[in-house]
Subunit: 208 residues, 2 copies
Amino acid sequence: MGKKISIAATADPVRAYHHGALRPALIAAAEEVIAERGIDGFSLRETARRAGVSPSAPAHHFGDSRGLLTAIATLAFTGLGDALEVADREDYPDRRSRILAQGVAYVRYALAHQARFDLMWRSPLLDKAAPGFAFASRRAYVVMEQAVLGDDSGGPFGPDHAPAVACWSMVHGFARLAMDDAFPVKSGDSLDDMLDDLLAGMLSHLDV
Amino acid sequence: MGKKISIAATADPVRAYHHGALRPALIAAAEEVIAERGIDGFSLRETARRAGVSPSAPAHHFGDSRGLLTAIATLAFTGLGDALEVADREDYPDRRSRILAQGVAYVRYALAHQARFDLMWRSPLLDKAAPGFAFASRRAYVVMEQAVLGDDSGGPFGPDHAPAVACWSMVHGFARLAMDDAFPVKSGDSLDDMLDDLLAGMLSHLDV
DNA sequence: TGCCCAACTATGCGTTGTCCAGATGGGGAA
DNA sequence: TTCCCCATCTGGACAACGCATAGTTGGGCA
């Protein structure tokens, strides 16, 4: 009680000088900003404001803007890999069903986390050498490849990975086009219903 | 000869006040900037500098940064549509060959004009209501759809357009992934050769 | 109690896009 | 020839940005 509590210059008048959990708070704030404003509207200052700290504070935890965005992209890839793994735990009557489920899970994840998904592929903004990034980004693909190729897999990007690349390309392209409003919405349809139908119709043309 | 020629404050000491062809010069400069720096490195000021005018000059021709980028994206879509049309002028032994040629032309265009292609899908940076944009972006898809569906086409995005969406998604996804360095380059392979092989292998899994 | 240092603040700098007032000069009418 | 209009540009100002750097805070430990 003898300690003098410093009043940090923040919107929270009683916050101690040390935030105590700033790294996760910044990640949460940054995800909020990109969800609202898109990647192009991302601002480190706005993120710091929302976390209730000064604009320079994120530098300690992430180095620079790229470091923070990379941390989020790594989480995003981890989330995608998790979603694909969850989808792969079901019992499927045949391999084709298993593969289509991967495709659906991929698109579902992308459409449910559009800002994250967008960030995941913004290579110029990311530090791909950061710890954990390469592992997370590769893992998502590996889960899918394993589902597509099964015992035929010669390891990631092995000699016979064309079916996995075909699956990946198709669902990745679909997710991107859907996110970029490339498919017109017919009046009377809800966007989700339309995309579900379109996705099912499209996947029927994947020959694996 | 009685006219006094004003010396504009530019790096070109003899340039008249009026540039005379500033709109195309700005487009060329902007394309140069995005080719060198990527979309995220684009700067209206750097573009103006390269065109030899002040930072405010582009505003007259394009309004704002968005206007200039939209003009370039419109040109990019026009280029893509042209490439798809050129590919479709060949005689193909069957419809499948015709469709695969569309896929190859799409990916080829994307990989040959990466900055343009990237910009084409940066919706938040573009004014989709600008004159000519909607037409150009739709035309590219329509050319491909016509090739995929032939007489079966019920008009753009008609009821049976799943094969066209499948084709589009696959090649679009492939182009995006290739551009984002998602496919590892094996040592000893040239990137172009590898992508050509991968593209052919992938397209063999498109069932249309 | 004093020191160390992780974690923060405050300040300054250069760059950015945009806004707005002013300057330029080509073209056309009187 | 002169004058006016206006398309097209310049220059300056402003707020916001990311980053660098010096300084401050306070918890933990000897």
